[in-house]
């Protein structure tokens, strides 16, 4: 298997040989979830040297030979590193996330469409998304649109279901059922190098242009800084077939309109490394987008004119310091501001249009302490406090504020064959509104237990089990949105139980490796927040009615084979089986029906061949059929799909600059399949990219 880059941070004292065998120690199973320092020096047998000279040590849990983060993780963990991301022909984070197993991405088509990720049938609001170590929140909808994050500078994308192996992280990272972590590239300088960067340009079908650049500078021995910017322009006017009947011959060819996108992003990170065990990261980020919303394709009514503007600015900082050989603490803080404007210029109400502006802001602060009591036992305590506020120009909007306090206490025990953690997250939430009644205060303690056992020391075979109870708060929309909100909503509860096996093996002196994992799980969601049309068919309300019982199986397999220094093969395959049944009311027509938009089976695959002349990759996404409503009737059936893509890439060196050229063909079979009914996906499209690294 690929020797994945573990997000390892090293201090320069390691480089200088202060700790010689640490330099050799590279088989670190690092969790990319956190960038904090939790160092374990293990005296086990052999370790492999990674070729990366400058690296960070994250929270390291070394558990033995040939272990890799996914295999030894006590909860299902899937990683995609930079190379794998290239192989799956993805532009945005949402494209890459589709390749994880156990994941359903609701994709509304085109580059501008909203994309949310739901893990194991629990719903998008149960999945946390973090960007470089701090979670992103959207209290308005409770869902994160992962379509807006590009993969340009992403170093590792990982999905952890349940708590991971890390305990030394902000309390909010423990708060939801799963965590999708986006980690960007950390600047790595060669000896004597002062700065470097890259400039790239992508162009593709349907009027897509995406220029980007990245500059990384070593300011002095203490500070590095990077600056990246990108823009995406897209017309989105792809052709699709509009079917009028179930008969495959009854269609017309249409063009998707009002689907244009203009987004800009600029980001800067400051990295400070001071004395031993002391570091600082400060991030500044600004994002802006302007999108047409094409809406569902409604038969005989082809017009759409809705528009959405988004602005998002945030600043986050991370500081950590060793207090003593046994204690480390970290501080995290974030201020986030976002603004959204929605326009429907053809509204038939008396104002003639709907022109709504929403502003949210968040102030977040977290402090965590790690105490390595003994060599095998450690404790971590985190406390987070944050305030979320929202205002809007809606009539009679209550302008809610939510005050949240989270504290987490975890304990971890590690030895050469076992890894166990137990944690308790205490949550306290208080809401305030300017008018009307606020949601009720909420207090809860959510437990989580993880265990991973390696029964045979000679085999990289692990057995794992975890249990986690968690919840998600109703969003501000759920509670307060005009006539639809219901301020007496309770949070949705989730319980997860997972049992898994992993096996990895490498031979041929590390030239061939594979990893296999399989997990069976049982999740339960209660008090599910569902929209019900009360009042009249246009005004729906949110209610806590719903119980979902989810049982499933996730399988993952990866293999790589290095034939020689010029030729390499890699292969990956994921498959999920999920039974997510509505068990709310035995008398109802949807009882024991699969919930809407959940396929019974889905999966992904990728294959890549590296040769001296070109690197070819093929990727595949497939989904079984689904039902568009909770009632599994054949007329509600949305057929499954297969989405194949191929790419070819080659790097040259010209005048000392690294030039990389890439060509991709997406959706080879040119089928306008639908992930969400009446939102056709683009057919076959092309993308070309050029990048110069200096």
């Amino acid at each position: 298997m690929k020797l994945r880059l573990k997000a390892v941070r090293a201090k320069s004292w390691i480089m200088n040989g202060c700790c010689p065998y640490l330099r050799l120690l590279i088989f670190l199973t690092v969790l990319p979830l956190s960038r904090t320092g939790e160092i374990y020096a293990q005296t086990t047998n052999s370790f492999y040297v990674d070729s990366i000279p400058n690296f960070r040590i994250g929270e390291v849990t070394v558990t033995g030979n040939h272990s890799d983060p996914e295999g030894s993780s006590s909860t299902p963990l899937q990683l995609l590193d930079k190379n794998s991301i290239q192989e799956i022909n993805s532009l945005q984070v949402s494209d890459a996330v589709k390749f994880f197993s156990g994941v359903t991405v609701k994709d509304y088509g085109g580059l501008g469409g909203m994309k949310t990720v739901s893990v194991r049938g629990m719903g998008a609001q149960h999945t946390a998304v973090s960007y470089d170590g701090i979670t992103i929140t959207d209290c308005q909808t409770g869902q994160i649109d992962i379509g807006r994050y590009s993969l340009d500078n992403v170093d590792i994308l990982s999905l952890n279901i349940g708590d991971g192996n890390t305990i030394f992280q902000p309390a909010r990272m423990f708060a939801l059922s799963g965590l999708l972590s986006i980690q960007t590239k950390y600047p790595v300088f060669k000896e004597g190098e002062c700065f470097h960067g890259k400039v790239g340009l992508k162009a593709g079908s349907f009027g897509m242009i995406e220029p980007n650049f990245l500059l990384e500078t070593r300011l002095n021995s203490l500070f590095d800084i990077n600056l990246s910017a990108e823009a995406l322009i897209y017309s989105g006017n792809y052709p699709y077939k509009l079917y009028y009947a179930s008969d495959a011959d009854s269609y017309t060819k249409e063009i998707r309109s009002n689907n244009n996108v203009k987004t800009y992003k600029i980001e800067s990170n400051l990295f400070g490394h001071f004395r031993k065990g002391q570091q600082l990261e400060v991030k500044t980020y600004y994002y802006q987008s302007d999108r047409g919303l094409p809406g569902a394709v409604i038969l005989y009514n082809p017009y759409s004119s809705e528009h959405l503007w988004d602005k998002n600015a945030f600043m986050q900082a991370h500081y950590e310091q060793n207090l003593s050989p046994k204690m480390v603490y970290q501080l995290n803080g974030k201020y986030n501001w976002s603004h959204e404007r929605y326009l429907n210029p053809d509204y038939l109400g008396s104002t003639g249009k709907e022109d709504y502006s929403y502003t949210q802001n968040e102030t977040y602060f977290s402090s965590s302490l790690l105490y390595n009591a003994f060599q095998k036992l450690s404790f971590a305590f985190s406390a987070d406090g944050f305030v979320n506020r929202m205002t809007a120009n809606l009539y009679d909007f209550v302008s809610p504020s939510r005050y949240s306090g989270l504290t987490n206490l975890s304990v971890k025990y590690v030895n050469s064959w076992m890894f166990a953690t137990a944690g308790f997250l205490a949550t306290g939430i208080h809401e305030k509104t300017e008018t009307a009644s606020a949601g009720a205060d909420y207090k809860h303690i959510s437990p989580a237990f993880n265990l991973s056992v390696k029964p045979f020391s000679i085999m990289d075979f692990h057995v794992r089990i975890f249990y986690k109870g968690s919840f998600r708060m109703p969003s501000f929309n759920d509670l307060y949105y005009s006539a639809i909100g219901n301020s007496s909503l309770k949070p949705e509860n989730s319980k997860q139980l997972n049992f898994g096996l992993t096996y990895s093996h490498s031979f041929d002196e590390g030239r061939s490796q594979f990893m296999f994992s399989s997990d069976v799980y049982h999740n339960q969601i209660t008090d599910r927040i569902t929209a019900v049309p009360t009042k009249n068919i246009f005004i729906w309300s949110m209610m806590n009615l719903g119980k979902v019982d989810i049982k499933g199986l996730d399988l993952a397999f990866e293999a790589t084979k290095i034939i020689n220094k010029d030729f390499k093969l890699s292969f990956g395959l994921n498959h999920s089986y999920q039974r997510a049944l509505d068990v709310t009311d035995p008398l109802s027509k949807v009882y024991n029906n699969q919930i809407a938009y959940m396929p019974r089976t889905s999966g992904s695959g990728r294959m890549a061949v590296e040769t001296p002349w070109v690197k070819l990759a093929y990727s595949l996404l497939y989904s079984g059929h689904r039902y568009v409503t909770g009632q599994n009737l054949s007329e509600n059936n949305l057929p499954g799909y297969w989405d194949h893509s191929v790419s070819a890439e080659h790097g040259f060196i010209i005048h000392g600059l690294n030039l990389n050229l890439r060509a991709e063909v997406l959706n080879l079979t040119d089928k306008n399949y639908e992930v969400v009914r009446n939102f056709p996906m683009p057919g076959r499209s092309y993308r070309f990219g050029m990048e110069v690294a200096f």
Binding site: Y244, A245, L299, L348, Y627
Partner: protein, 641 residues
Amino acid sequence: MEIYHTIRMRKLKTILLFVPFLISIMGLFSCDDMESVQSVSTTVSSDERTGGLYVLCEGNYSLNNSTLALYDFQKSTLNKDFFQAKNNRKLGDTGNDMQRYGSKIYVVVNVSSQIEVIDARTGLAIKQISMFNGSIARQPRYITFWEDKAYVCSFDGTVARIDTSTLEVEKYLTVGRNPDGIAASNNKLYVSNSGGLDYATSAGYDSTVSVVDIQSFTEVKRLVVGLNPYKIKADSYGYIYVVSRGDYKTISGTWRCIDTNTDRIVATYQLDVTNFDIYGNYAYLYSYNSTTKDSWIKVFNLKSRSIVQESFITDGTKITTPYGINVNPDNGDIYITDAGDYVSSGDVYCFGSNGVQKYKVANAGVSPNTVLYVGDLADSSGSSVDQAFLDSTYLYSVIAYTPAPGQFTGTYPAFTDTDNMESMRTKAEVLLKGKTGGLVTLGRYGGCLTFAFKKAVVNASGYDFKIYGNAFVNSAEPGIVEVSVDANHNGLADDAWYELAGSAYSDASTIHHYRICYYRPSSPSDSVPYSDNQGKTGYVNAYYPAWQGDSIVCTGTLLAPTAVQNTTGYWEETNLAWGYADNQPNQSDLSDFDIDWAVNAEGQAVHLDSIDFIRVYTGVNQNAGWLGELSTEVTGAKKLH
């Protein structure tokens, strides 16, 4: 040895490499065992042998899954997407209203912003009328009819006038905000302006009903009713009833009665009515509270203007979410639909007027909102057994169609410049042959339809044949029925005619041997001059049947005028006891005829063993104010044995 061992190890390792790979491939093909749920729809046991129930289901917003389902009584099958099966395209998104007018059914598809006009008998689409203002969808909601025009109200605040022959929109009129209901009565339209799209703004709901004069197509008055007006329907006494839904929070719903003569609100009821339908003397109301999930269904008497039944359903049938409520005017059955959770498919319940469930059509579609019985459904299977049955049981041929002047003469069936006597006879035959439900108007006194069954009608004991019309209580236009035997066996109806003496035959006010002559006016829309053998001359209302000669002579028995004006000024077309066509409801045996009633020209009873020809002519010569002239309508005929 060592090398051999290494090779063996390598092979083993290679195999080990592939085992998990194979397992994962096997896992890959772990079957997708998710199968569609079979939705059960009951076999309906009903005494209707022919015809069917159209059920319009809204579907879910933006899923393009609105459907028009058809339950065919003859085949006992439910076709959930009958419209798509017939027209090879889907209905669209959110079918909101469905009404029949003449031979066509109009379906208002709200989100797709179209009106689908389909042939009632076959379900084939005739025309799709787009309701757009440039690129902005008007979002049509409800439809009503008056004379030869259809009127559709749309959320964009307009009422569209559509001609029912050309199916083109002629004109738009702007009324109040977000109209969500329209009714026609007394030459006026009444439009409920809900203002519903302002529910989240400071403007809030509207609370008015616009009164539109049909002739000028302008708004003449705006009445203030309760907040958020919705369903609006006309009764047959000149009153309009309208629901006001309140604001779903603090202001509860009310129900009001408007007098169409004065255009004033004459009564306000503190009833939180959600939806209702009117038939004859009764209104059937229901109320559904979405928060508590409670509902009630009550019966309201339109003459006494009071609730006469606090709980309509008498047999304990439980309806979770009442949604659509429609009365079948042919037989008085009441259909109530259950929308359930608005996401899974809903059911249609049929109740008799006694509140006892007759049958249920389960899983008709998502949110069924309108149920329409169509008696003259075409038999698409064309199986020879059924066709033979229809041929021998129902009206087989129209021998002559000679209507008198009338407001619908030349409309039902429609006359065009290329038509003549023979082609009009053919049109009448197409409407009536082998089925019921097609409508042929006879015009005022003396207008006549002569027809035959495939074989002679034998005079057995009891009733021998039925003539279908469109009568119900206080809505009768009696036609006198005569029979004839083909004595000369020439197949032509040139033999003696005998009147079937009905209940009014021997009344003192009945005139025998009446004769009237109508003269063609100079232009088709002019009043028609007449003279009769009672010494009267004058004019009657248009239209003269353009395909006939310059004068029409009608002779026969003249019944005394049957329509009376009641104290409110509204006309009641009273029913005679028995023995006349278009006089009593079709489901009653009072619309049946016995050949034993035959009398000769002197009024003496004659005994006929069997008869070959039948003719019906309008028996009264009367105008009922704004209702126009009384004119017998025939919608079919059937042998009873």
